[in-house]
Structures are given as C-alpha cells and as structure tokens.
Amino acid sequence: MSTSAPAVRFQSVYKAFIARERAAQPILALEDISFVANPGEFVSLVGPSGCGKSTCLNLVAGLTAPSAGLVEHQGARVSGVNTKVGYITQDDNLLPWRSLVGNVELGLEFRGVPAPERRRRARELIDVVGLIGFEHHYPHELSGGMRKRASIVRTLVYDTDVVLMDEPFGPLDAQTRVILQAELQNLWQRSRPSVLFVTHDLVEAIALSDRIIVFTNRPGTIKREYRVDLPRPRDIFHIHETPGFSDLYDALWADIRAEIGAAHAPVAGERIA
C-alpha cells in the first residue's frame, strides 16, 4: 500500500445495463468517468436521480464490474468483491436477528478478530455515537436514527482506508440528519479514511466534503468538480453562515438545476439507444 497511490481511481469507466426482461432496452449508466479520491479525502458525488452515483460505489465495492475502463483501489484493480473497503448502504441492512452490538461486531467477526477485542472495539464506537444502553436491542426496537448510527459504526469499526456511503441519511428527518452529519464528521476525523459519499443534499455535501463531484443526467458523466475550502472542523449546525458557503451552494445548485431541466426536455432519451 504505497502512500503515493490514490485511494480510489476511476479511469474512463463505462457501465451499461440491460434488464432481464426480454424486450428491455440497454441503459448506459456511466460514461467515461475519470476521477480520484486521495487518501484521507472526503469526496461527495452529487447529481440528479438515476445518474449512476450509486453504481460508482458498487464498482468500488466490486459488487458489479465496469463494462469498460478501470476502477482501482490503492493502486490495484478491483475485481470481485472488495473486502478492503467499508460500505454503508442506503438501507441500514442490519441483520434483524442480531442485537446492536452483534451487528457492530459482524465485520470484525468475519475478519477473525477474537471475541474480547471485538466486544471492546464495538463498545467503544457505540459509546461515541451515544448508543450505550441499547447494545442488546434488536434493530426493530431502535429508531431510524439509531439504526443509521449503528450501520455507520458497524462499518467504521473495522478501520478500512476507504469508506463508501450511499445516501446514508436519506430517509431521516431534518433534525436527526444534521445531528448525524455532525457525528459523522467527528467519527471521520478519528481515523480519517477516504470517503466516497453519495447524496442529493447539497448542504450536506458542502458541510462534509473536501471535494464535490457533480454528475450529469444519465448517462452519468462528470460535469464539474468543486473544491470545498471551508476550514475544519466545521460547525455543521451553522454551516449556512460560514463565509463562502452561499457562493458554493449557488454554483452547485445552478449545475444541478440545469441537469434536472435537461431530464424533462425531449432530448433526454436520445443518447440511450
């Protein structure tokens, strides 16, 4: 693992799908995607729905393979399931039959970490997100925010150098979202992994990221990249008042709005076939 290699590198990546039904039309989800995420960098991917942002994460996790191009993790080509990254999916995907602590320990268990150490590391992170007292609750006994916290620490507990997050705060209410964003920033600063973070929420992207990559409509291409130079640690709760925030927000929103407008224009389907 050389320090010079980027944590994640996309080089001219294309991804095409065809649904299983007989007459299904092929869909080009990603077109000529090239970008890198550097070690310790927090990168957000934003763009209209269906633009292939989540597909990018699946490619890094090795759950799907590119149709053309190269996806690298720590300088090595990703082929097959990539167990060296952490993946926090949109659904919390907690195992319903395991208690909170059992779920948090899961990755360590798969990695053969002995039980006492597992327990210690799990408890430590459960404590950081304030869930002590709920360790033995089952997922259906926890609130949405608690489950989300659990799914985040479950991935962070085994310390990967890259963490993928797919709209982790999507279904939460506005207050819980902001609180969890602040908690995520704290957790991230403890071990500083590279993060690829997919979101629809521009405020969230600005508040958390070092860099924001804007995708176009399907087929997803990279429209623009923005560097977020706001100093860290950031005050997530008052991020709106930070100097420089509104300019960045306006620029991002102008890009996105153009894409949403394009989606409704009649030419949208043109490039698919």
């Binding site: 993946y87 899961l106 990755g107 089952y138 259906h140 085994y158």
Partner: protein
C-alpha cells in the same frame, strides 16, 4: 382488545406524570376520559361475549328442536345422542385405542415429511440453477391432489400404519419444502452484499445471514402443517383401514349411525384445533422477528 386498553391506560398515566403538574381541570379531563373509555370497552366486551354464548346455545337448542321435527333424526342425530356416544367411547377406551393409531401416523408422518422437505429444500434453495431445473417437476407433483395417491399408497404399503404415515408425510412435505426454499431464496440482496463486502466467507455468510433469515419461514411451515399431517392420516384411514379415528367415522357411516359419525368428526376437529393452538408459539420464537405467514391452509 384487552391489550389496547392497557396501552391506553399507561399513555394517560404518563401524561399525568409530566414534570409540570397539569392544572386540576386537565387532570379531571384525563381521568374522565379514562373512566369513560373503560366503561365503554367493558360494556362492549360484555355484549360480544353474551352474543357469542347466545349463538352457541341457540345452535344447540335449534339442533335439538329441529331434529325429528324439521329434519329427520337420521340426518343430524341429536345433541344428547352425540354426547352420549362421546362418553361411551371415552369410557370403553375406543377413543384412545383408535386415537393412538391416528396420532402415531400423524406424528411420524409429520416428522418424516418435514425432515425430507428440509433436507431436499436446503441444497435447492442455495443453488438457484438446480432449483430452476427442479421447479417445474415440483409444481407438477404439487398439483397432484394428495388424496388421489391414497389408493396408490394403500396398494403399495398395505392396510397397516405405513400408508397412513406416507400420506401424512405427503401432506406435510410440499408446504414445508416450498416455504423452506422460499426462506433460503428471499434473503434480501442488500444483507448478502453488505456481508460479502465486510469479508464474510461462504460458510460465515450461510451461518450468520442465510440460515437465520430462513428459519422463521421453516418454523411457520412446521406450525401450519401438523394439522395437515393428521388430515393425511385420516384420509388414509377413510380409504382403507380397520382402526384409527377415520375408521371410526367411516365404520359408523356404514352402519348409518349418524351420532357416531358426528362424534368422530367432532373428536378430529378438537384434535386439529388443539394441535393448531399448541403450535401457535412456533411462529414467534424469538424477540427479533415479527412473524411470517404461510399461504397454505387446512384441508
């Protein structure tokens, strides 16, 4: 209903115990609401139970009065004749003697059928392609009405216990099989993907994700099929046998003893009901789960 009531009481109680004590007027409103609600619920429950009891008594009385007047006694017998027959069978030991054969066939058939189904469904549930190959034949076998095979089994295995066991097992097999396969196949893709990325080996994936996810389906099927096993055994006894509860019923029918037929049907119904109630906890054995439905009924 009782549960809903209890929950409401606590809710009101919590309200009263707010940090800031509510004004007297508010307390009165809360208490009034509570007492009124309890009174309505109590009255409603009383009416319902009285109506239920009324129906039961009404049916028995109507049966008694109409027998021999509106309907010939041959068709419906009389309540006291059926009761007398039940007492007679209990006292002379017929009930237990015949019951033991039916129940033995039921339980052995149940275990054989369930075990065979799980052992076959396990590999097929984990190998999607093998399952797709087997699927049309399983559906084919499933659409053979089990009763039509009764004579086949009797011919093959004689008049003793064995054909009844096989019929009982056959009644159990498909429901358990289909639900077990479904249990293995329905594991959410997301759970599997996340576990794989976390580094789960094949064995670990099976142990921690697939098996626990399938167990509720299997248990629900096991719960639903014990009565079916009994029905299988009884069908076997109807078709050909010289003992068992099914024989008791068909023997009475061939003698035109209506009270005996009704009494035997009553006993079977009670046993099936008892088995259903007995296995009800099987559906929810653990704290984490919320129960699974099996789409298959009693025959």
């Amino acid at each position: 209903m009782g549960l809903g009531n209890g929950a409401r009481v606590t809710a009101v109680g919590e309200r009263i115990a707010l940090p800031r004590p509510p004004a007297d007027a508010a307390v009165r409103v809360l208490e009034d609401t509570l007492t009124r609600r309890q009174a309505t619920l109590r009255a409603r429950r009383r009416t319902v139970w009285l109506a239920r009891l009324g129906i039961l008594v009404g049916v028995i009385v109507a049966w008694e009065l109409s027998s021999g007047t509106l309907v010939r006694t041959f068709f419906v017998s009389r309540p006291e004749a059926v009761a007398a027959r039940l007492v007679e069978w209990t006292l002379n030991g017929d009930l237990f003697w015949h019951g033991q054969f039916t129940l033995t066939a039921t339980f052995i058939g149940y275990m054989v059928g369930a075990l065979a189904a799980i052992l076959l469904a396990w590999p097929l549930g984990l190998m999607p392609r093998a399952y797709r190959v087997a699927e049309p034949y399983i559906l084919l076998a499933y659409s053979i009405p089990a009763v039509a095979l009764g004579p086949v089994f009797i011919l093959w295995f004689g008049l003793e216990l064995l054909p009844k066991i096989i019929l009982a097992a056959y009644f159990v097999f498909f429901v358990v099989f289909i639900n077990t396969v479904a249990g293995f196949r329905q594991v959410p893709r997301g759970l599997i993907d996340v576990s794989l990325v976390m580094g789960a080996s094949r064995a670990a994936l099976f142990r921690t994700v697939i098996l626990p996810s399938a167990v509720p389906y299997v248990l629900a099927a096991l719960r639903a099929t014990l009565p079916a096993a009994m029905i299988g055994a009884v069908v076997g006894e109807f078709i050909a046998s010289n003992r068992g509860l099914g024989y008791l019923a068909s023997a009475a029918a061939s003698e035109y003893e209506t009270d005996g037929v009704i009494a035997a049907a009553f006993v079977m119904a009670v046993i099936v009901l008892a088995l259903t109630v007995l296995l009800r906890p099987l559906g929810r054995v653990t704290r984490w789960q919320r129960g699974v439905d099996v789409s298959e009924g009693s025959l």
